[in-house]
Symmetry: C2
């Protein structure tokens, strides 16, 4: 395990993306997103992703210079076609449009199609919150791949972990950012349990016969990841799937589409009044005595903010294997670097 | 246990509400809603509620003749003040406005304040789906009461089960209706376990010290209901709370406010294309082999629709005690009836 600092790794990522054919502004946008995710502790969506992204460029799947094009637009809605470009860049552009339309119109909805991986979802609603806009983002539409998640009550690999992110301002508590998948676990977490030969918590997977299991091998032998929270998480997953596929059309073969809706706070209430009311409620939340096994109650998004504050100082810990892969990725695009 | 049919019970409910001072159209709207909820198997939000509603009228808490007033309006948003009237009527009116605005504008958001209980939430998004509008409804803002639900990681009675409902058309499969609370269980369900002296499933409650428990008495001795799905359900509850309180202002002292978001399908895609794409996905869902303990995979909302189909024929089963209470309620407003 090594430690890297944002000022060391960010320029390298920009160089790698540019060397792979990415225009400077998009390379910087994507590098910022990956470093920010790593700072926030969401390592799975952080700097390790450079390897996947460059592989997708080199294989021809991702078009690094593609910029999203608006294919449908009214004062309150837009559909952006990403042209197989960076999802992080395209969803960021879509959120800017959603914010602008919400500010002008009160409410807005924007769809994004034909994009690759979009990174940490919370980053997009954080942008909206900076402008005092409440935003929802959902991803879905990958059922044709299919994904590892079974419908509730079933035993079928069908849906992806269709994520939701929602952001609202929280006054002096900072942005409230809900950033969740609708599956009980990520496949990446199953890999961690597998490597450690540990039992899974109950409620994460079914075996190939549709029987609940805590043996991670049962998943890899044809089993299924469950939706989180039974029929409830399943319902939210179905909603994301239908908004992103039935409403927006088919995504890229290995990815999802995205649906944003945005609400301008000021059209309902003076922003300062909202902030004060939010603080009053969040103060009550923070004043909760902790439950057994907890130090304190966290407001959604607070864990990530704490991580970023720490990692700005201590640096981002990165496993040696990940660093090696980043070096290899750099070499693939002609950059020789020692990390 | 007796059985009643809609054509028997609906006119009685209308008579009771009218005798308690409710205008005919509102009485019919509320009676229809309660009978529909009972038909759909959601007995807790069905005809048994007549007793609570009439008590609230007789105590002066509910104003049965109040009609919601629009206190803020733009082409895409509205805020309705309910004047302490029937929540079922007010939220129904609000949804009509949201549908109309979404049809005109593409997207819309409508808030509802100062209303009493709103019945089964799914009924409102079903109305939107009839008009090919996708709708979200969330309830919250009751943290000052406070509710029984603790924030995740905490041990504090704070939030109500802040519900969410979302509806989308499902082509030949009928409306897809997600109608969920953000708590792991309803307090009413705990009463059922208590009466039967049964152990609770894990993950529903904490005892008064914030320790997980499956003993229902631990809840009644100062314990807490958990959010569903850990930090994920907690996040969704916080979102509903902030949309309905920080954005809309304080609710009535014993109730919640409501927030609707609506999207016109046709502004994104031809409705027929949406329906076909929805069917293609839902066919894959329905084709899932059942998991252990299940007969078949259900599309969200399907269980309720099946219940209604059955109960239209077999009638609505009602416990004797509930029937007696309805008779007493009728008598309180001067109606003598034998059920």
């Amino acid at each position: 395990m090594k430690t890297v600092y944002p000022h060391e790794i960010r320029p390298l990522l920009v160089d790698i993306f540019q060397a792979a054919g990415t225009p400077s502004d998009i390379a910087q946008c994507v590098a910022d997103s990956l470093v920010d995710a790593s700072l926030k502790g969401v390592d799975s969506h952080g700097i390790m992703r450079v390897t996947k992204y460059v592989n997708e460029i080199l294989s021809g799947y991702m078009k690094p210079a593609a910029r999203p094009v608006i294919v449908k637009e009214t004062p309150s809605i837009a559909i952006l076609q990403g042209g197989a470009g960076f999802g992080i860049y395209a969803l960021g552009q879509a959120m800017q449009i959603a914010i602008r339309k919400a500010k002008a119109n009160g409410t807005a909805a924007v769809g994004v199609t034909e994009v690759t991986h979009t990174g940490r979802l919370g980053q997009f609603v954080e942008k909206a919150v900076e402008d005092n806009v409440i935003a929802f983002v959902m991803g879905g539409g990958a059922y044709r791949i299919p994904g590892w998640v079974t419908p509730y009550g079933g035993a079928k690999r069908l849906m992806a972990p269709n994520p939701w992110a929602i952001g609202l301002p929280g006054g002096s508590f900072g942005p409230v950012v809900v950033d969740i998948s609708t599956s009980a676990t990520a496949e990446g977490k199953l890999q961690v349990y597998r490597a450690k030969h540990e039992q899974l918590p109950p409620g994460w997977i079914l075996d190939k016969n549709g029987k609940p299991s805590t043996n991670v091998e049962d998943f890899y032998n044809g089993g299924f990841i469950l939706p989180f929270g039974g029929h409830k998480g399943y319902g939210l997953s179905v909603v994301a799937e239908m908004l992103c596929d039935a409403l927006l059309g088919m995504p890229l073969p290995k990815d999802m589409n995205w649906f944003i809706f945005a609400i301008d706070i000021a059209v309902f209430r003076a922003v300062q009044e909202f902030q004060q009311a939010a603080e009053a409620f969040l103060s009550e939340v923070k004043a909760s005595p902790p439950a057994e096994g907890f130090q304190e109650v966290m407001i959604p998004g607070e864990v990530e903010r704490h991580s970023a504050q720490n990692r700005e100082i201590t640096g981002i810990p990165i496993p040696d294997e990940t660093l090696q892969k980043i070096q290899e990725t750099a070499r693939q695009v002609g950059i020789d670097v020692k990390l």
